[in-house]
Symmetry: C2
């Protein structure tokens, strides 16, 4: 990992073209040759960057560039596409390199897959007497998160989201349209289950006869823990 702090201007060309005017910035060069250009604000996203696979070449400025105060030019060329990042360095305040080694990587917990697993285990959250048919029930346009049966024996298709948006309702609507063509399943009711359901999504769902269920992740995880202790 090489970190350079310098006054620089940056030009990118690839899917789009973009330009960064001269200013003081942090340049991060990773071991794989990728380059990140960071400012002292904004989010974790760099102002500009080049993703691997790519190669960094350093060159002296030509006469006109030198005249403009450029002391060095970095060209970062993607080795598979024609994406290119050109950094024109003016004053360089710092240039240090450190060996970091390979990172052991991130351990995550608590995503949508977990929600699906938990709801499958606690299927009666959909209503008393509900039973699980299967998770990832396959259809021609993709798998339905959960297929269940209600106490009355009707099929229930469940779409699970962390954040319930209009897109999710549209998705479930398509599944329902398809599933209801299957005489072995029809009629199929829809349930839109999410940790948080946006008002517009709720309105659309209700309008289409789709039931909304808000999932309490912590509570579900808690019950899961209790089960783990009991068995």
């Amino acid at each position: 990992m090489r970190i350079v702090i310098a006054d620089c201007s940056v030009d990118y060309s690839g899917r789009l073209t973009a330009h960064l005017p001269l200013a003081r910035r942090v340049l991060m060069v990773k071991a794989d040759g990728s380059v990140l250009v960071h400012s002292d604000g904004g989010s974790y996203k760099p102002l500009n960057w080049m993703s691997p696979p790519c190669r960094l070449t350093e060159a002296e400025p030509d006469e006109a560039q030198a005249q403009a105060g450029v002391t060095g030019v970095w060209t970062v060329q993607n080795t598979k596409t024609d994406d290119r990042l050109v950094v024109s360095l003016h004053e360089v305040l710092s240039d240090t390199s450190t060996e970091l080694g390979v990172d052991p990587g991130l351990v995550k917990d608590g995503v949508e897959a977990h929600l699906q697993k938990l709801l499958a285990e606690q299927i009666t959250l959909l209503g008393d007497g509900h039973t699980l048919v299967r998770r990832e029930y396959p259809t021609a346009i993709g798998p339905v998160d959960i297929l269940a049966k209600s106490a009355g024996g009707a099929s229930v298709a469940v779409e699970i989201k962390r954040r319930g948006d209009i897109d999710g309702v549209e998705q479930l609507t398509r599944y329902l349209e398809l599933l209801n063509r299957d005489p072995l399943l029809a009629p199929v009711d829809g349930v839109f289950a999410a940790q948080e359901i946006k008002p517009q999504a709720r309105v659309l769902a209700t309008d289409r006869g789709i039931r909304c269920v808000v999932l309490d992740y912590d509570a579900m995880r808690g019950i899961d823990d209790v089960d783990s202790r009991l068995f």
Copy 2:
């Protein structure tokens, strides 16, 4: 901008919980208090981070932590949510601060609006004899990207995307339904135009009688350049 290179472990809790085992990493502390944890690989995305608004507090390790080799603990707390990032520092190799100032920001060029402009200029890409009626043709549920007429005089509504997804087909379907109610326009054919069309989107479009057209951005831009030179 403060940059620290150190052996550290990191814990995040918020929307999810995540843990980074002890390893050598780069910590970037921006002027707004946000923190980025970078390794020497991957993309521009940090291994872990805290977005502003947030506050960084540094503390001494407790006895147990000190016993484990921890020399300092950073707690980065989001000031609006209960998201929290905890960095346990072991050996610190480097700790430097630099004043960067406010960045003038990125200048972009060449996105979806450009695709629309190019297709309007090269409307015969839809088929011989096609003529442009207008871009951004207004309807009650929003403007259609392009309205054209085919050689046979039929109306053609075009939805343009950079990446053609199912959403875009749904959007075009809604437009077509509305436009076909207008006796002055009906019948209106649909064309789904994108740089890249996902298979599922293509299936859905075809099923609904919507034609798919893949746009070659570079070729269209090339022709545009030729035109620019001629006139």
